[in-house]
Amino acid sequence: MSTTLERPALRTSRKVPPSKDSRTLLKSQIRTGWALLAPALLHSGIFIVIPVVAVLVLSLTNYSFGDTWAWVGFGNYADLFGDVDFLASLWHTVLYAIVVIPISMAISLAVALGLNQKIRGLSFFRTAFYIPTVTATVAVATIWLWIYNPGSGLANGFLSLFGFAPNRWLADPATALPSLMVVGIWQGLGTKVIIYLAALQGVSRDLLESSEIDGANRWQKFANVTWPAIGPVQFFVLITSIVGTFQVFDLVYVMTQGGPGSETRVLVMDIYQNAFQDLKLGYASAETVIMMIVIALFIGVGRLLQKADAND
């Protein structure tokens, strides 16, 4: 049996003006709202809006830390699309994102599903998966530099057990970027696992039990109950992963400096190089604007995929 609550009809069609007391209350609430918002707005204004506007303005100049500068219009943008280093960096970043995001999300979800079971040593495993996230990237990169060391590294040592010839992982143009991707995937697992784990623990037990009673197997339970339930979290992880992978820098800076050649040069590294090494701040600002647009495009695609998934 179901009941429907109906809104009682208004006695008059004319809108009743609020009383003086309620107007005062409303104004007071509005004031309080603005007062509470003010610190966040101030912070966003100073540290996000103004710098973004500054970058947009600088991207239209040839400013290079010297005494003189000039407006160049969209000249920096035009130059960027003929700049092989920029194009290579953009391609490497997109490739890095396309490979790292889905793989790391899939592995994280699988690990989270495992850690969501009642198994022995659960705390240990949860800590172990989270440690790379809280470890400084420089330390992580140093360990991986040793792992990838062509002479005495663990990777070649392991492969030699199966008779494989040693590889020059980070020094070989063919394997340098994939080697970095492996580190990126591994390092990003911790945060995603924790988020997925929290989401999995929020999946309705009632729905899972109902599906079990209806005879659903493990896969059907996952596909029809768990997966839809963690949809919003998937989207959150996707967005943060997109932003994170597009801003990859420290790993590359420590491990390869963008080399060999420019095989692992990524967008933020190119921006850093142009801004702080080559002193081309106007040009680097134009690159930053392009990066923001590309990230926005990726997030837009993510939203579309999310909507399509929700409609299914």
Binding site: F65, V138, A171, G244, G259, R265, I271, F276, D278
Partner: protein
Amino acid sequence: MRRGVGLTLLAAALSVLVSSCGNGVIEKSTDGVPPAEATGTLRVLLPSFPPSTKGKEAFQKVVDDFHKTYPKMKVEPDFATYKNLNEKMSTSIAAGIPYDVMVTGVGWVQPFASKNIFEDLGKYGVTPDVIKEKSTPALIPAVTYDKKLYAYPLIADARAVALRKSAFREAGLDPSKPPKSLAELKVAAEKLTKRDKNGNITRSGFDLASATGFRQSFTTFLASTGTPLYVGGEPNFDNKAGLDTLLWIKSMINNVQPYGQTNAAQQPLVLTGEAAMGIVNGGVDCSADGIGQKNCDDLEFFRFDSGKEIEYVGGDLASIGSRSRHKDAAWGFIQTLTKPTTLDAIAKLNKKIPAYKDASNSPQAKSNPLSQFVADGLVYAVNENEVPSNWLEMRGNFDIQLTQAVLGQKDPAKVLHNLAGQSR
């Protein structure tokens, strides 16, 4: 750190806008004020003193000496490295607190002078004749931009070539007749290269000292053919000599030395025995704390000569920031830095040669055979020569594109042509 660059760039952009609204003055100028009465903070950026206890002690001696003339000036050092020098300078400018004294290297002066970041030292009586008389004449092109001098040399970073006598004898080569031309070097290096049964190189025949890029080695080998990299700011490598040199490097990598080979201590590989021959920088510690006397005795030094005997020489060059409020004091500090005793201390700390007239008789030159060799060879000095004003950008371009050519990813002739086109 991942978001750090983006945020720093945004913050730098903001700072630029904010500082462009004001005049960025944070201290009153002391120029024209008698030294004894001048007050303020002199900000000094220099890679010449390592940030170790020894380095800081040596720097403090310089400060103490400076205080004899400027007793009320505070000195604030920033012990940079060549790797982070540019970002320190650019962020200081963006933040509106530029350095008063900046020590940079060969290739830095022209780009910064062209942006009016360095002060013309002609105002302080620095002329080519003064450098010839008191310092290292070979570094005059490195401190000159638009016929004006913007820096004063502190130390010379000279490179030579070393060979292992034992390795030469073992390979049937005569160590007293070192190979000097590119062709001779290749033949000898191939004989000296050792491999395991799988063909992997276990001892390099020649260390090109180019783990991260081939810019300096290309410059050096090209100069040994009598061809400087740049002449009057114009590229001089998009020619047969340039192409032959690049092809020669390509023929050496993964033939006599694996690409990217370094050791953990970042030591020249010939000093550690990982290479039979190779490029070395200007000093070697023959004591038990260093490589030891036995190892030292096994080394023989020589210079490249493919038509012209040369020695690659970089160096530390001191400049005054054009936005400094204490230019007189900054010049006073540079004068303190360039006293022979100070230069000797800096040279010892960095295993380089003091850039004063009689460097061959300096304590550093007398302390080890390699320093003596490179000090005696300063007359053969070469470097990138008169670089274009976008050299800071070109440094990276050279490193990337020469590597791509050497690894076979790009056509060497096209790479040189492209680099020449990018030089402005």
